[in-house]
C-alpha cells in the first residue's frame, strides 16, 4: 500500500480542492458538478464535454469552469489542471441518432475512457477517480444467479452494445487501479436511472401507452432514483470509497408489474421479432439489444456493500418507480383510480340486483 492510500482518517475524508467532471453537457454531469461546486471546501470544478451545454443546464453550470474537450481525441489538456478528483460521467447508455449513432457511442464510451485514463495516469495530483458503470457489467446468461453481488463474474458477454462497452470500461479501470494503486478508485454500477422525467431510452420506452415486452418473459427490474444516484456520486467525490459498488434501490418489480403500476398496457412480442426490431441500425421504437437483454433476463443486484460503505440507503425500487408513475400519469391507460371505480361499480351492481331480489321475495 502506498503512502497516499494509507493516510490518516482526516486525510481520507478530505475534500478535493480541484475536481474534473466529464459529461457536463447532460443532466447527470451538470447536476453532479453543481452539487460538488456547492461544497465550500472545493475551490474549483472543471466541467468537460465535447459539446456546449444546452441552455436549460446553464443555471447549474454558472460556477463551473467549462472546457470543450473531445475525449476520443485525447485528454492531455486536462493534465496540468492540478485536479485532485475526477468523475467520469461521459458515458452514453444509448446511441443518439442525431450524433453519430452507435459508432459514436462506442467511441465515446470506450476510446474516450481509454484516453481519459491515460491522462489520469499522468496527473500526479490525482487522489480520487470515480467512474460511472452499470449493472450491465454482469452480462446476461440463463446460468446467472438471481441476485448479483459485486464479486459475481459475468458468464456470457451481453448482446447489447452498452453492456459490452461497460465490460471494456471496467477492464480499463482495473488496469488503471493496478498502475496507480495510490489513487482511490470508485466504480459505481448503477441500475437504470429513474425519476419524474422520462429522459433515458428505457424510461421513454416505459412511458409509451403500449409497452412491448418479450412473450413468455417477465424480467425482474431494479431502478435507482436519480436523486439518490446524485448523492452517491457527490459522496464518492468528497470522501474516499475505494472499490466497486452496486447502486440500486432495494427490492424489485417485474416488468409486467411496472407496466401495470404505471397504467400502461403490455404488448407481448416473440423474442425473435423483438430481436429483429432492435437490430435495425436505428432500432424500431427506440428499442435496443440492451433492452432486449434486460427484458429477457432481468437484473437484480445486492446493495449491502453500498449501504455499509456509504451509510446511505437509496429509496427502494418500488418507491423510486412511484415517482415516475406520478409524473407519467397523463399517459396512463388504466389508472388505479379507474380500476378501483370499476370494482366499486361491480360491487354496487351486485348489491342492487340482490336487494331487488330480496325485495321481490
Amino acid at each position: 500500500m502506498t503512502a497516499a492510500a494509507a493516510g490518516s482518517a482526516g486525510d481520507r475524508a478530505r475534500a478535493p480542492r480541484v475536481v474534473i467532471v466529464t459529461g457536463v453537457s447532460r443532466f447527470l454531469g451538470a447536476t453532479v458538478a453543481a452539487r460538488i461546486a456547492a461544497d465550500p471546501r472545493v475551490q474549483r470544478v472543471i466541467g468537460v464535454d465535447r459539446t456546449d451545454p444546452p441552455a436549460e443546464l446553464a443555471p447549474l453550470l454558472s460556477g463551473i469552469t467549462l472546457r470543450k474537450v473531445d475525449l476520443t481525441e485525447g485528454a492531455a489538456s486536462l493534465i496540468g489542471t492540478g485536479a485532485e478528483a475526477l468523475v467520469h460521467l461521459a458515458i452514453m447508455s444509448s446511441p443518439d441518432p442525431a450524433a453519430g449513432g452507435r459508432a459514436a457511442m462506442k467511441d465515446q464510451n470506450v476510446i474516450g475512457t481509454l484516453q481519459l485514463l491515460a491522462a489520469c495516469q499522468q496527473m500526479p495530483s490525482l487522489r480520487r477517480l470515480v467512474v460511472r458503470s452499470s449493472t450491465a457489467a454482469y452480462g446476461v446468461s440463463f446460468r446467472d444467479p438471481a441476485v448479483f453481488t459485486e464479486d459475481t463474474e459475468p458468464r456470457d458477454v451481453p448482446r447489447g452494445g452498452y453492456g459490452r462497452d461497460i465490460l471494456d470500461i471496467e477492464s480499463y479501470v482495473r488496469g488503471f487501479r493496478r498502475r496507480r494503486p495510490g489513487v482511490v478508485t470508485t466504480v459505481l454500477r448503477f441500475a437504470p436511472f429513474i425519476g419524474p422525467q422520462a429522459d433515458t431510452a428505457l424510461l421513454k420506452f416505459l412511458a409509451r401507452p403500449m409497452v412491448p415486452t418479450v412473450l413468455g418473459r417477465d424480467p425482474r427490474l431494479q431502478f435507482i432514483h436519480v436523486d439518490d444516484a446524485l448523492e452517491i456520486l457527490r459522496r464518492s467525490v468528497l470522501e474516499d470509497h475505494q472499490g466497486t459498488f452496486n447502486v440500486a434501490g432495494r427490492g424489485t418489480l417485474t416488468l409486467s408489474q411496472a407496466v401495470r403500476r404505471s397504467g400502461r398496457l403490455e404488448l407481448p412480442v416473440p423474442e425473435p421479432a423483438m430481436h429483429a426490431a432492435a437490430s435495425f441500425r436505428r432500432g424500431v421504437a427506440g428499442l435496443s439489444l440492451d433492452q432486449v437483454d434486460l427484458f429477457v433476463h432481468g437484473r437484480v443486484v445486492d446493495t449491502a456493500r453500498l449501504v455499509r460503505q456509504y451509510g446511505f440507503t437509496p429509496r427502494s425500487t418500488a418507491a423510486a418507480f412511484d415517482d415516475f408513475v406520478r409524473a407519467q400519469e397523463p399517459g396512463a391507460v388504466i389508472t388505479p383510480a379507474r380500476v378501483a371505480a370499476a370494482e366499486q361499480r361491480l360491487l354496487d351492481m351486485i348489491r342492487t340486483v340482490r336487494e331487488r331480489r330480496g325485495a321481490a321475495r
Binding site: V147, T254, R261, G263, P336, E343, L347
Partner: protein, 290 residues
C-alpha cells in the same frame, strides 16, 4: 318484505367472497403486490398455484405425509429429496406438503436446472412460485434469509431414469448442496417421496428427438407419445412423503471446502434417503391402492 333469518348470513358470506375476489383482481391489475428479489410472488402462489396443485395432491395422488414434525418450524433448512417421475411433479407435491401439512405453512423454495430458466413461460412460472436456479450463491442467499430450500441432487439422472430402476437413487452430483448447507450452517432434512415413480413409467428415451428440441431427454411411456396430449395425464399412483430427522451441519462448518467431508456427508444423506425409501415402500404394497 319478510326474509328468512338465515338469508343475511349467506348473503354476507357470498358478498365477502365476491369482494375478496374483486380486490384480488384489482391488486393484480394495478400491480399492487409484492415480490421478493428472486421473483417469488407469495400472493399468486397462495391464491392460484397452490389451490390447483392441491387438487392433484389430494384427489389424484391421495398423498399422505409421515413425520412432518421433522421439518423445522422456522429458520433456513435444506430439504433434500429423491427425484423421479419424468417431469418434476414430485417437487411441486413436496411444496404442497410443506405448505399445507406443516403447522407453520412454510413455502418451499425449489431449485431448478438452467434448462427450466431457458424456457419462456416456464421460467416465469418457476420464479413466481418461488423457484430459482440451482447454484450455490442463490442457495446460500435463500438459506441465510431463513427460507426452506428444496433440492433434488439427482437432477435429470433421477427424473429421466427408466421404470426398471425405480426407487434406486442415482449419483448425487458434486455435492454442491452439502457445501451450501455447511457454509450457512443450516440443517439438511432428508425426504423420501414414494409414488412419483409410477406416474409416467419411463420405458425409453429417444435421444435424437431430445437433442432436436434441446431437452435433456425425450420420454417414451406406455401412454406418451402414443396418446398425444392425453399421454401427459399422470397415472394416479398412491403417494407417501416422509420427512427424515434433520442432519445438523454445524459440526462441519469449517469444512465447506473440503471435498472429502462434502462427499461423505452427501453420501450419508443419500444412504438415509435410500433407507427411508425402502421402509416407506413397504407401507404401500399396492402402488395404485387407496
Amino acid at each position: 318484505m319478510t326474509r328468512p333469518e338465515i338469508a343475511p348470513e349467506i348473503d354476507d358470506e357470498f358478498d365477502e367472497r365476491v369482494a375478496a375476489g374483486l380486490a384480488f383482481l384489482r391488486r393484480r391489475l394495478s400491480g399492487q403486490y409484492e415480490i421478493d428479489e428472486f421473483g417469488f410472488d407469495p400472493e399468486l402462489t397462495d391464491q392460484v398455484f397452490q389451490p390447483l396443485l392441491r387438487q392433484l395432491y389430494h384427489r389424484w395422488f391421495r398423498t399422505e405425509v409421515i413425520d412432518v414434525k421433522n421439518l423445522p418450524a422456522e429458520g433456513g433448512a435444506l430439504v433434500v429429496g429423491n427425484h423421479s417421475g419424468t417431469i418434476a411433479l414430485d417437487a411441486l407435491m413436496l411444496s404442497v406438503a410443506c405448505h399445507d401439512e406443516h403447522p407453520a405453512h412454510r413455502h418451499l423454495r425449489l431449485l431448478g436446472a438452467d434448462f427450466v430458466f431457458r424456457m419462456p413461460f416456464v421460467s416465469e412460472l418457476a420464479r413466481k412460485s418461488g423457484a430459482t436456479l440451482a447454484c450455490n450463491p442463490d442457495v446460500e442467499r435463500l438459506l441465510l434469509q431463513e427460507e426452506l430450500v428444496g433440492v433434488f441432487p439427482e437432477g435429470f439422472k433421477g427424473v429421466g431414469k427408466r421404470f426398471a430402476d425405480r426407487y434406486q437413487l442415482q449419483r448425487f452430483g458434486r455435492g454442491g448442496f452439502v457445501s451450501a448447507a455447511l457454509r450457512t450452517g443450516r440443517p439438511i432434512v432428508p425426504v423420501a417421496i414414494v409414488g412419483a415413480e409410477e406416474i409416467y413409467p419411463l420405458l425409453g428415451n429417444i435421444k435424437p428427438l431430445a437433442r432436436l428440441i434441446g431437452a435433456p431427454y425425450f420420454p417414451v411411456t406406455p401412454t406418451f407419445p402414443w396418446l398425444g396430449p392425453l399421454g401427459l395425464v399422470p397415472l394416479p399412483s398412491k403417494w407417501l412423503i416422509r420427512f427424515g430427522e434433520p442432519i445438523d451441519t454445524e459440526p462441519y462448518a469449517d469444512a465447506a471446502d473440503d471435498p472429502a467431508v462434502v462427499f461423505n456427508l452427501a453420501d450419508q444423506v443419500r444412504e438415509t434417503i435410500q433407507t427411508m425409501l425402502r421402509e416407506t415402500l413397504e407401507l404401500r404394497p399396492d402402488p395404485f391402492g387407496e
